[in-house]
């Protein structure tokens, strides 16, 4: 089973990277999610798929052949973290789109290479359009 986990993780990672190399920013953000899934799978695989039952130890029952709970706990943590970061990325994307309609990856990073604006030209916070009641 570890074989399959490893190969799946590899292919998914490749797909994730492929998406992150896309021109469309939306797909880049989704690529992060896919890559994240791949990595989670990888972590779980690295912890082995031993055991024939889930890691529960009920009173009076002997622990016989449980799955390794540690990688599960780690991956659980990683999944939630990944989700939080993904949502943040999504909101950056949304804001970018709302403000400028940027969706092309290269354009986005080119913008950062523009010369710095003068101090009084910096964007107010939050952007003026939102301040209107």
């Amino acid at each position: 089973m570890e074989w399959i986990g490893a190969i799946t993780a590899g292919i998914m990672a490749a797909l994730g990277v492929w998406m992150m190399l896309d021109r469309h920013l939306m797909r880049v953000v989704l690529g992060i999610a896919v890559l994240g899934n791949a990595i989670n799978l990888g972590v779980l695989t690295a912890g082995r798929f031993a055991g024939s039952e889930a890691a529960f130890t009920f009173a009076g029952q002997q622990v016989l052949d449980s799955a390794n709970p540690l990688p599960q706990a780690l991956v659980l943590t990683a999944i939630v973290i990944g989700f939080a970061l993904f949502v943040f990325a999504l909101s950056v994307l949304k804001r970018t789109h709302e403000l400028h309609g940027d969706k092309d990856t290269d354009r986005v990073s080119q913008v950062t290479e523009r010369p710095a604006p003068d101090q009084d030209e910096e964007e107010p916070y939050p952007p003026a359009e939102d301040r209107k009641p």
Binding site: V92, V108, E123, P127
Partner: protein
């Protein structure tokens, strides 16, 4: 003891949640946040004082023995990193004080800076690989929040670039942590160190660690993986980029130092790879800086270059070189953050941070010129400021070790550093302003910002003039890094 170990995490965390609960009252948030970081600073100083006496603090979270539970360790390096985080955190908040920004903006800055500090301090004190990953994520999301704060096309784009590339790095770290567990059966750094030091690590463990090092290298902005840094640091709000410039990449460097010294106390193949990487980082970074025409871009590339020095110290792997790296770390954080702060004030006075649109500040505000000159000269390694000792020790260590090429790069980079610092100096201070009416049109800004800059400059001078005790500390820290007593004894001590 237990309390002390968790303090670096607990102080900013408590500050954050208190500030969050009173977030509607902006004044309270400011008070709480500044008090919190002052306490963190004091705690850091106390930890350094303890560590200087040779005390090593460690605790098992939840009382579960290593390697089952999470271990936190504060040795000399951790202690000084915590203290310096306190310094920079406090400095940033003081700089932010009364900046002419909307109240919500400042409030959010305070919240996120506290969050960032939790992550940074957590990364400094943990002795568990996965726990390190978690703190990395905390500081990552804190930095995302801060870099995007305020919106705007440029800033959002920078945030996106920063975000995507850093997420990739962090995911790699996660995979690496998983692989290391899968190959060694442990997440405890001490146990890992024992394994590697006994040369019993399997190929899988090696590969996992290599992956981890690569991911740290991205975080630390090493050649050729530093592209994200100069592509994003200059877009954030000035104090934010100062905080990033000072502290953030250094967490990566810290992690590199920690892991490499733990696993390979003797020079080996990893060190020789790091050596070349460090040299390339130094020179490429400084060349990149020379090509820039904006204050913060120059400084951003310099971060890259300077990280090269620190890694050089690590790569040389002699106690002296490591001490140099530690010294460099301490010095650089203060100096680099300060340069960003000064750059912010200069940009404010000039009305721009493009060198072409700046000027005339030498005549108008000589005080600022002095305050810039101190960190700038220190960065360039001009004695007797802090940077000189850092560089000197590294040069001496490389020559001691007979690695001439390292010394050559270290010195050669120095001259370029001087060049680009004098570029800023020339254009911003000496040259007449192209549009004299714009100079200081918006006033000098809040006085607290000037205090920040002056305070950090004073620290730079103090480190330089009082290099003796600092160097003693750094050397002791480097010895401790190599011997790693705290980490290696975690397992023997059992639970508390």
């Amino acid at each position: 003891m237990n309390v002390l170990v968790i303090l670096p995490i607990l102080i900013p965390l408590t500050t954050l949640l208190l500030a969050l609960l009173v977030r509607r009252h902006h004044a309270w948030v400011t008070v709480i946040s500044m008090t919190g970081s002052a306490i963190l600073l004091l705690a850091g100083i106390y930890l350094v004082a303890l560590a200087a006496e040779g005390t090593v603090l460690s605790a098992q979270m939840g009382g579960w023995a290593a390697p089952y539970g999470i271990s936190l360790v504060i040795d000399r390096l951790s202690a000084v990193m915590v203290a310096i985080s306190g310094v920079i955190g406090f400095a940033t908040l003081v700089y932010c004080f009364r900046q002419p920004m909307p109240a919500d903006f400042l409030r959010d800055t305070h919240l996120f800076i506290q969050g960032l500090l939790v992550g940074i301090c957590g990364a400094f004190v943990t002795a568990d690989i996965f726990n390190l990953y978690v703190w990395f994520e905390v500081l990552l999301i804190g930095s995302f929040a801060l870099i995007a704060l305020g919106g705007g096309e440029r800033r959002l784009s920078g945030a996106m670039t920063y975000l995507v590339l850093n997420m990739l790095a962090t995911l790699l770290f996660l995979l690496a942590a998983g692989l290391v567990y899968g190959a060694t059966g442990t997440l405890n750094m001490g146990e890992l160190a024992l394994l590697f030091r006994a040369d019993e690590a399997s190929a899988g463990a090696w590969l996992g660690v290599i992956l981890m090092l690569v991911s740290f290298s991205i975080k630390a902005a090493l050649f050729p993986l530093f592209g994200w840094l100069p592509a994003s640091y200059h877009v954030a709000w000035t104090p934010v980029s100062a905080l990033f410039a000072g502290l953030l990449t250094k967490v990566g460097v810290y992690a590199l130092i920690r892991l490499v010294t733990l696993l390979w106390p003797e020079p080996g193949v990893v060190h020789s790879v790091l050596l070349w990487v460090a040299c390339a980082t130094m020179i490429i970074g400084v060349l990149g800086a020379a090509a820039q025409t904006e204050v913060r871009r120059i400084l951003s590339f310099h971060i890259v270059s300077q990280v090269g020095y620190m890694v050089l110290g690590l790569a040389l792997a002699t106690p002296l070189a490591l001490a140099g790296a530690v010294f460099y770390l301490i010095h650089h954080i203060v100096v680099k953050a300060n340069l960003f702060f000064v750059g912010g004030i200069a940009a404010r006075l000039s009305g721009s941070e493009r060198l072409a649109a700046m000027g005339g500040l030498y005549a108008r505000t000589p005080l600022l010129a002095i305050l810039f000159a101190i960190p700038a000269l220190s960065l360039a390694g001009i004695p007797p400021l802090s940077g000189f000792w850092a560089k000197f020790v590294l040069v001496k260590a490389s020559l001691d070790a007979g690695i001439w090429v390292a010394a050559f790069f270290a010195l050669f980079t120095g001259i370029f550093t001087l060049l680009s610092m004098s570029k800023i100096w020339n254009e911003t201070f000496l040259k007449a302003h192209p549009d004299p009416e714009r100079i200081g049109a918006t006033g000098n800004g809040p006085r607290s910002a000037w205090f920040t800059v002056a305070g950090l400059a004073a620290i730079t001078v103090m480190i330089g003039l009082g290099a003796g005790p600092v160097m003693d500390y750094a050397i002791a820290a480097s010895t401790q890094l190599i011997e790693a007593p705290a980490y290696l004894q975690l397992l023997n001590r059992g639970g508390e």
